[in-house]
């Protein structure tokens, strides 16, 4: 990546926000005219418990530079227990992404209530900065041009740790 | 690094490709050509007939009766539909709304563009049928594939003997091609229409197709029956036709449901060693009985 590219690179970050807390918090940030970087695109979901880890994988496969999952604080879930499941799922997800070679800084989960507009602003700003510093994600599936060699034929035996594994 | 094949020599291996084929993209049998919808007829509440013409103003292709077209929408996908009729510069397909693609197709309007490839499959044996009495038995949307044959036969009326169309649907509203059934065809051939249940707007025959078929007691002499409709209807009609004395060689049906890629390559359409895409979808009952029971 050239220097010019680096400075103009604007990451796209996807944020799944629950309708009752974080989405409301994000709206409140607007009502209060708080300013934050324009990198985040919010997907509104009824509950953070609705967010399937597969959505996150899909976002990364499609080219997301960062993904956030935001919901009510534990105990405040509009649906009582939804975010307790969210918590378990994404605690694991974070580890699994890291394990799979996706920089852990690209994935964030946050509890942001409907009144925490400033927390929303700060979280979004922080994630945008962190992700921008990382540069574009390398997870995107590129449509395989038919003239190129098939996948397995391109194997680079880059990791020779067979003994260990 | 692109390495153009500078080798102009033909390949001499016994099973290497027929080099005669043209490598331009038009020749890729899987790529659709674009067609414009130039007319839409609402046949029933859930069946519409689309008249399609190439965006270049040409007829996309000239199918034989019984052949099919793969119709696609960019975002939704593709599926196989029988071609029900054709004209100077158009083909027509009648499509029942059953799933995602057909639902999206039903949303289209005149002037909209869709993809078409084909024609696929064998066709009704119009030559072999010459000099025969023909009995067309259809149920519901099953009249669609037969219609192309009926229209062909009517166009070549002198080559064929007595023609009868026996067709039924759930209700009057569900009868497709009403203009043909009630205006165009009567007089040219026998039309026998039935609906499943009594209703106020219908004063014709009431009852299921197989029963009506039995009632009508068509003579099997020099007669070929062409049948298409829901599996259960076909099953009972076959029994009735057998009882009426039709031989298996003289009963023809179509298995277009089994077609997927259309070109006999993808591996789904085989029933035994027969490929529905290539050897079908039109089969005589005698041929079908030869095939393994995987229909």
């Amino acid at each position: 990546m050239g220097i010019n590219e680096a400075t103009t690179y604007e990451p796209k970050i996807l944020a799944f926000c629950c309708n009752w807390c974080t989405y409301t918090g994000a709206d409140l940030a607007g009502l209060n005219r708080m300013k934050y970087p324009a990198n985040v695109r919010v997907v509104r979901v009824p509950c953070s418990g609705r967010v399937n880890p597969q959505f996150i994988l899909r976002a990364f496969a499609r080219g997301a530079d960062g993904v956030m999952v935001c919901g009510c604080h534990p105990g405040d879930c509009h649906y009582t227990t939804g975010n307790y499941f969210t918590r378990r799922r994404f605690m694991l997800m974070k580890k699994v992404l890291e394990f799979n070679g996706i920089e852990p800084q690209r994935f964030h989960a946050r509890w942001i209530s409907g009144s925490e507009a400033a927390k929303f602003r700060d979280a979004v700003t922080e994630v945008a900065q962190v992700v921008k510093a990382l540069g574009p994600a390398a997870t995107k599936v590129t449509t395989q041009a038919s003239s190129k060699a098939p996948a397995s034929a391109d194997i680079e035996s880059s990791v020779q740790k067979e003994g260990a594994l | 690094m692109t390495k153009n094949n500078g080798n102009g020599n033909a390949i001499n291996s016994s099973r290497t490709p027929a080099v005669a084929h043209d490598c331009s993209c038009e020749s890729n049998p899987l790529v659709p050509t674009l067609c414009e919808i130039i007319g839409i007829t609402e046949e029933t509440g859930d069946v519409k007939t689309f008249r399609l013409r190439g965006t270049d103003g040409q007829k996309p292709f000239s199918p034989m009766p019984g052949q099919l077209a793969m119709i696609s929408l960019p975002r939704t996908g593709e599926a196989m539909f029988s071609i029900t009729s054709q004209g100077e510069d158009w083909i027509e397909s009648s499509i029942k709304r059953v799933g995602e693609l057909t639902e999206d197709l039903h949303d289209l309007e005149v002037g909209d563009i869709l993809g078409v490839r084909g024609p696929y499959g064998n066709h009704f044996p119009v030559e072999e049928l010459k000099g025969k009495n023909l009995l067309f038995v259809g149920g519901g949307i099953g009249l669609a594939p037969i219609r192309s044959l009926i229209l062909y036969v009517l166009d070549h009326r002198e080559d064929y003997l007595r023609l009868d169309v026996l067709y039924g649907s759930r209700s009057f509203q569900d009868l497709v091609f009403k203009a043909d059934l009630f205006e165009n065809w009567p007089g040219l051939c026998g039309t026998h229409i039935t609906v499943d249940a009594e209703e106020s707007c219908w004063d014709g025959h009431v009852g299921f197709v197989p029963n009506y078929l039995e009632e009508k007691a068509f003579s099997p002499d020099n007669c070929v029956a062409v049948i298409c409709g829901p599996p259960i209807m076909i099953k009972f009609c076959l029994d009735k036709l057998a009882a009426m004395g039709f031989s298996k060689e003289n009963i023809i049906t179509t298995l277009e449901m089994r077609m997927k890629c259309g070109i006999g390559k993808c591996g789904r359409c085989n029933i035994g060693s027969k490929y529905v895409c290539l050897d079908g979808p039109v089969f005589t009952l005698a041929e079908l009985d030869e095939l393994p029971d995987e229909k």
Partner: protein, 662 residues
């Protein structure tokens, strides 16, 4: 190919100043599926809406995207508008380009890009929106009240007075709850029984109320408007249809056991009524202490009963009833201090008693006819110590919360003592004195004026010196140890959820918090509702409170119930979970995760998917549309994707994600 119309709102200059709305509108025109795009000053205004309606007609639009303020603002407005147009009101998506774009980004270029992205996402989603139809749920116009304390009584009376049938279930042989055990109530010091027993009588006499005492809820099925509840009537061994409540049986009964109602200060027979003014005023046999039922010998009551009411063969009986709404009023119990506070003697000293025992002691209808005496020797105490916050505000030994009523309760006890014992000295050990309530602070002042000595400090130890008890504490105001010789010590113990309230909550699908109190749907705005539709909260089961608060909450819950039962049917949101039965493998992962018990495992005929295609009855998940609230947690638990959330289907969300990138 859905015909999508996109409408970009300027919101005056609110959006237009920060987003290039014309460019956004132009960009929308080339998005897949979009056949028309327009911008306008105020989309939500009358002419704005008319413009959309006209466009729907002109372009045959089938789905609508509005780029405007937050959907939380005007989603309903636009849905209502769509209803008029004939387009299903759920075929609309809103791109939030005001609160989440225009107002938060300064760079117009980037804001416009983001707005276009959000519109593209909304278009992608709207193309997969399905027409949804809300269901009308019929409502059974009957209410169930669980618990016959003052909260349950009040709620039942209010609902019944409004003209709806109520069934009141109480597990004790009589309604009345804790309040009838009390002698007087603060801050008025009026007689508790005098104000509560008339209400009990009202319950028994009310034509709309069916009272089921000595009964428990065994099972709850169904959902708002349509609950089916199984009630277990415990075996009474007395035919209440004939019994007149003459009391002859109780008098003659040879078995005597400690009376729980009187906190063990007296004994009661095995065939008994809870207290003299009990409602219903008919006895039951306690099978655990009845000699006849235990050993087969005795049968005195049967012989004595003039009407032949006694039936030793009686058994628990279960029956079901349908209800439209349920009020839980399961109340509280006082903490078992003896288990928590070894330093207070753990129950070894008979003269250390809890507040409720004192209530029975001071009560004119109690075992001592209102004479305050030491349980150990029956003498009148001269010095009494009252210890507050026993088990409350003590996360180490008891509960972290404040039981709210004890400050006033302790003051009341002091006042009652002063009223009954001449020259008595009353010490009150406290952490804080909290008296927020009408007339409460004045009551507290009067108590001190009357001579109660307030000592700030938690009693660290109670021990015996001869005949008297010593309460040892650090007076945190004086900063030194104090020891108070006391003849009687009263512990104002914490309120705890009544035993069994968790199981009731479990049956209802209602949540309980870490302390076991039932959780309200929203702590501020929905304080008497639970998150289970049609289940409401009254009284202490939701958290400690005093009688006035309990009664107000009961009336509030009743008002909610009346509001619900006044409708014949109610509309339910169609954005709920739905199961594609063919895909469901019946693993029941969704069932476990549903907070509303909205998913049950049903069966349907199908073919085995494995080695043969045998016809079988396959287990599949079934969603109860009345219970499901549409949170979607189940959809993630479902590995196959057989259960999906209408309006937020997996595919819709995935396509929204896809729309952001090529």
């Amino acid at each position: 190919m859905s015909k999508v119309g996109v409408f970009v709102c300027h919101c005056g200059t609110n959006i237009a100043a920060a987003v290039d709305v014309v460019r956004a509108c132009e960009a929308a025109k080339s998005m897949p599926g979009v056949v028309h795009a327009a911008e306008y000053k105020y989309m939500c205004s009358e002419p704005g809406q008319q413009m959309i309606l006209d466009a729907i007609k002109e372009y045959g639009l089938k789905r609508i995207v509005i780029a405007s303020c937050s959907p939380r603002m005007h989603e309903t407005t636009f849905r209502k508008m769509l209803k008029k147009s004939g387009v299903n009101e759920y075929l609309i998506e809103i791109a939030n380009i005001r609160e989440q774009v225009a107002w938060v980004h300064d760079d117009k270029e980037k804001a416009t890009e983001k707005a276009i992205d959000l519109i593209r996402m909304a278009v992608a989603k709207v193309c997969r929106d399905e027409p949804l139809k809300s269901q009308m749920i019929p409502i059974t116009k009957r209410a169930l009240v669980i618990g016959g304390g003052i909260a349950g009584i009040q709620a039942a009376l209010d609902i019944a007075d409004a003209g709806h049938e109520v069934t009141l279930v109480e597990r004790e042989p009589s309604i009345g709850g804790r309040m009838v055990m009390l002698d007087k109530t603060f801050p008025t010091l009026d007689c508790s029984a005098c104000i509560s027993t008339p209400k009990m009588v009202d319950v028994s006499a009310h034509p709309n109320i069916r009272l089921l005492a000595y009964s428990e809820v065994a099972k709850v099925e169904g959902y708002i408007g349509n609950f089916t509840v199984t009630i277990r009537q415990k075996a009474r061994y007395v035919n209440h249809d004939i019994c007149t409540g003459c009391g002859a049986c109780s008098e003659k009964c040879p078995a005597k056991v400690p009376s729980a109602f009187n906190k063990g200060l007296s004994k009661r027979p095995a065939i008994y009524t809870l207290f003299p003014q009990a409602v219903p005023a008919k006895p039951v046999i306690d099978k655990d202490s009845c000699i006849k039922l235990k050993s087969g010998k005795c049968g005195v009551c049967e012989k004595i009963c003039p009407l032949g009411c006694i039936n030793y063969e009686d058994e628990d009986m279960e029956f079901t009833e349908d209800f439209g709404a349920i009020v839980t009023a399961t109340g509280y119990q006082t903490a078992d201090w003896a288990q928590m506070y070894d330093e207070y003697g753990a129950g070894r000293f008979p003269d250390v008693i809890d507040g409720l025992t004192f209530e029975r002691l001071v009560n004119a209808s109690g075992p001592t006819e209102g004479h305050i005496v030491r349980p150990s020797d029956g003498t009148e105490p001269k010095t009494i110590s009252i210890i507050k916050c026993v088990g409350s505000r003590d996360p180490k030994k008891g509960r972290a919360y404040c039981s709210r009523a004890c400050c006033m309760y302790a003051a009341k006890h002091a006042r009652q003592i002063f009223g009954k014992i001449e020259g008595v000295r009353v010490f009150i050990f406290y952490i804080d004195v909290r008296t927020p309530g009408k007339g409460y602070e004045e009551f507290y002042d009067k108590t001190r004026e009357d001579g109660a000595i307030y000592v700030r400090g938690r009693v660290s130890r109670i021990y015996k010196e001869g005949d008297t008890l010593i309460c040892q504490a650090e007076d945190s105001l004086l900063g030194k140890q104090v020891r108070v010789k006391s003849d009687l010590v009263i512990l104002e113990t914490a309120m705890e959820p009544a035993e069994g309230s968790a199981s009731v909550a479990g049956m209802l699908g209602a949540a309980v918090d870490g302390d076991g109190w039932l959780t309200e749907a929203h702590p501020k705005l929905r304080p008497v509702e639970t998150q289970v539709g049609g289940v409401f909260l009254a009284g202490v089961c939701q958290g400690p409170k005093d009688i006035p608060d309990t009664v107000s909450q009961a009336s509030a819950a009743a008002a909610k119930v009346i509001g619900l039962l006044n409708k014949n049917e109610m509309e339910s949101s169609p954005m709920i979970a739905s199961v594609e039965a063919d895909k469901c493998s019946g693993c029941s992962a969704c069932e476990a995760i549903c907070p509303y018990k909205a998913i049950t495992m049903g069966e349907q005929p199908g073919r085995e998917a494995g080695g043969n295609s045998k016809k079988v009855m396959r287990p599949i998940a079934v969603v109860n549309a009345g219970l499901c609230q549409g949170c979607g947690a189940c959809t993630v638990a479902c590995r196959t994707g057989a259960i999906d959330l209408l309006g937020y289907r997996n595919r819709q969300i995935l396509e929204e994600v896809d729309a952001l990138w090529v």
